[in-house]
Symmetry: none
Subunit: 227 residues, 2 copies
Amino acid sequence: MVTILVIDDEEDIRELLSYNLKKEGYDVYSAENGEKGLALMLANKPDLIILDVMMPGMDGIEVCEAIRRTEGFQKTLICFLTARNEDYSQIAGLDAGADDYVAKPVKPKVLISRINALLRRKGMITLSNDDVKDLVINREKYIVEKNGTVIHFPRKEFELLALLASKPDYVFEREIILDKVWGSDIVVGDRTIDVHVRKLREKIGDHYIKTVKGIGYKFVEISKQNP
Amino acid sequence: MVTILVIDDEEDIRELLSYNLKKEGYDVYSAENGEKGLALMLANKPDLIILDVMMPGMDGIEVCEAIRRTEGFQKTLICFLTARNEDYSQIAGLDAGADDYVAKPVKPKVLISRINALLRRKGMITLSNDDVKDLVINREKYIVEKNGTVIHFPRKEFELLALLASKPDYVFEREIILDKVWGSDIVVGDRTIDVHVRKLREKIGDHYIKTVKGIGYKFVEISKQNP
DNA sequence: GAGCGTTTTTATTATTTGTTCAATTTCAAA
DNA sequence: TTTGAAATTGAACAAATAATAAAAACGCTC
């Protein structure tokens, strides 16, 4: 489960983002001002916070600083929402605390891909199917969630899954897999990869990992599969 | 499907390139500045980005650096558009991130052949018919798309197709084919090639691969065929 | 050093891929 | 137009590769 908190004073925006983020499979909370936002943050420990810069009361910068001062949230992802006319360089300067920003008016698709990119940078790979985050790989927490339930993966299996999922649709050759997961110097039998792949498939289902005979394996998103 | 993003502040250029690239069968998006371009990039994951160097706001270099800093786009192909009077060496120095550049004023035909060359370097061979990319061979994903649908090819067939398609109209002698696809040391019967050619024809249609009796085979683009 | 979870190996089976063979057809040179 | 080398084709066969299950080896922690 990936949780996102939206803090914006405009109800329209909150609605728009909330609707679209939920449709993308995220768990969304929203607040209309900084105080309420901070309270919700403490209560729900979001993975990412979307924060409007221009707000009455505490503005986005202040909220951002408050977040960064809060124990346990120094590294929580923050994405600013900025008005179009604000200077790019000025925003860049404010980056002290934020991880990214998106200019208003916000296009949901743009925001979502930015968010996915941010999460990925943090080691979270999320794959959605319909309106559910079907699979969430969280490198920081070393956890894989499938439809909300946590599945335990031993190290090698986790690394293999994370590698394949890091580039959906791309074929990883067996040699490359060995190199990245096992290390170039380690020598293991050729069946070792297969066995690990089987264990992954047992746990997350057969659909995701596809064999490319003679080459290697690739990870495919369910929604993109053609039968 | 091969996707290209054009980032240029001049509307005329965007129109010109967009029109010509679409006619060539590419899927094209365009933006008038760096910010919008980056947003479109995140949303559409282009295979290649055409980037004007001289732009108000973020210039091409900055955009290029931003692209390279973005997770998942470190290896996306970038082609610069440079003003004629800009110093070659200066541009070359800036090459930090770009894969190629084309001098303005841009001649669509020149640009397109440069782009095809770039894509090819990445293992993507695209053949167009009318204004559709009829056949796309993607080595990274190990797939062949025919009119948008993916066809599966086993290793030898894939290699053979990729070889023939790599030089349309060029006749590959049987000996050369054996050498490149099977390896110089491997010895296989003479009929083996024929059988593989037959399988290719079964899958992509008879038109593409033409027999040159006594010599070998060649790949011809449909649009160039005379009936 | 016993016990447990993890990782690797081994052996077997299943599946896919690649090759050969032989009958038939095509094609270009005579 | 004939003719024979060359190519096509379908089917049978062989080889390569992967899936699977079960067991052995490893490396922790207690």
